[in-house]
Amino acid sequence: MPSEAVPLAKPMAMRSRGICFLRWVTDMTLPIDTSQPKLATGCRWGGTEENRMILFPEGAIKLQGPGRQVLEQCDGNRTFGEIIGELQKQFTTTDPEKIRGDISQFLEQLQRKRIVDY
């Protein structure tokens, strides 16, 4: 995965009342190869073509590059294995294990925020 892929997502925390705390916690439930990730209930695509984002109850995440590419494939049908396989084919100069690691962490973070289910 090219270096500009990090960070994959740029959270824009917006709250109608009070403050928003975005925390990454360390213990993980990572996706496995047969997981079929999809956007969680009440999360959907929005924005414009050049400014695609995922809208969720209290905010939005602007997505570009591989992050966007990954989430566009999270349709509840494709498996995690297929999604990373596709990216590994595309980014041949990057260590395949790094790609797997980056994407699984990315999805895990989004699951914690209840934006992705798998």
């Binding site: 109608s16 929005g46 109850p57 209290e58 914690r112 209840r114």
Partner: protein, 377 residues
């Protein structure tokens, strides 16, 4: 040019069947006949979409008190907005919910006052708890994101664990655990609502444990009370930076309580466009950016993080909206917060929930304890 706002807060009415003692609505509530028309709201929503806003948060009062809510949700979706309904759920039948979902409602947030029915109805000043539980079951039958909002304070924090367990059974995607913020009615009732430091510290641990337990299943957002924080909250993400609130009468405000600030003229959407109000109006520019800031904010490293805190809180506690929020430990007026905190910690007494046959009777019974939010006349 200031970047356009990200979200609209549509405070569609001040009418509400609940009388929550911590309501953040202003003490001067707008009456039904002063409310914007359906056509006015639809125009506001269209303009919001055109400005590139992403979300429309429908709130109140109780938004369901507006018979045209379904139409407004549909208009928001047509305008390209993500739609969020912040509600007590009173007035929502399964049939009406179905219509709202069909109109494009993305997310519903239901407030719960407690896990115990007697206590919940006591805080709300209305028999609402049982209906909310029933409604939560109904919500899960629809394709709709569901958040439970729990306002916590001195009177319910001692059984926070039980409340979180109760909420878990309602199966929301999110829980918002919000400590009372002292505006409007909550400020009047501050002495009864403010937690002790011990309650707060225990609550932080309980929330942390629940976050671990719920990871990947239920997301917890928690709002820490600023009276106990070192730095003030970045109110609304900065004055005129991210959010625009339209109140029931059509006045555009940079935050919920802004109308209390004397000397500011707030424009009405019946007379001006949202774009003009955002870019040009003196009210939205008054505390935008850093030029207005006094010391110690002006030279503070955190001035772009918390923007000097909340202007309304500064006014409410010091009488001057232009000073550093007293919640900031660096504020010259921070002793006001310290005094309130010291008073809250002078004893650990909590009240015993009571019930009554009528709201008027409940008001009389609890008059020494707190004032319930009343409904606009």
């Amino acid at each position: 040019m200031v970047p356009n706002p990200l979200a609209l807060i549509a405070e569609v009415t001040h009418r509400c069947p609940l009388h929550c003692v911590y309501c953040s609505n202003p003490l001067q509530l707008a009456s039904a006949n002063a409310e914007l028309s359906t056509a006015d709201w639809i125009s506001v929503l269209q303009q919001s979409g055109n400005l590139g806003m992403l979300h429309a948060h429908f709130t109140g009062g109780e938004p369901l008190a507006r018979p045209d809510l379904t139409e407004l949700i549909a208009a928001a979706r047509t305008a390209g907005l993500y739609t969020n309904l912040i509600t007590s759920g009173i007035g929502l039948t399964d049939q009406r919910l179905q219509a709202l979902v069909e109109a494009g409602l993305d997310h519903i947030q239901i407030s719960f006052q407690d896990s115990r029915e007697g206590a919940a109805n006591w805080i709300a000043g209305a028999k609402a708890h049982a209906h909310k539980i029933e409604l939560s079951r109904s919500i899960r039958k629809h394709k709709l994101a569901f958040t439970v909002n729990l306002v916590v304070h001195r009177q319910n924090l001692d059984h926070l664990e039980e409340m979180i367990g109760f909420i878990e059974q309602l199966q929301p995607e999110r829980v918002e655990i919000a400590h009372t913020q002292y505006y409007g009615w909550a400020l009047i009732n501050r002495a009864t609502l403010m937690p002790t430091r011990a309650q707060l510290e225990k609550a932080v641990e309980i929330v942390r444990a629940a976050e671990q337990r719920f990871a990947g299943r239920i997301r917890i957002d928690s709002v820490v009370p600023d009276y106990y924080a070192k730095y003030p909250k970045a109110c609304m993400g900065g004055w005129g930076q991210r959010l625009m609130l339209i109140n029931p009468t059509g006045r555009a405000l940079p935050c919920h309580a802004a109308e209390i600030i004397p000397g500011l003229e707030f424009e009405n959407v019946k007379e001006k466009t949202l774009q003009w109000i955002w870019q040009e109006s003196s009210s939205f520019q008054r505390f935008r950016g850093e030029a207005w800031m006094p010391e110690p904010c002006r030279s503070c490293d955190r001035r772009a993080i918390d923007f000097g805190g909340c202007r309304c809180q500064a006014l409410l506690l010091t009488g001057d909206p232009t000073v550093t929020d007293p919640a900031c430990s660096l504020a010259p007026t921070h002793h006001l917060i310290e005094t309130a905190v010291a008073e809250a910690n002078a004893d650990i007494a909590v009240a015993e929930p009571t019930s009554a046959s009528s709201f008027a009777q409940l008001q009389r019974q609890t008059s020494d304890l707190w004032s319930y939010r009343t409904d606009p006349r």
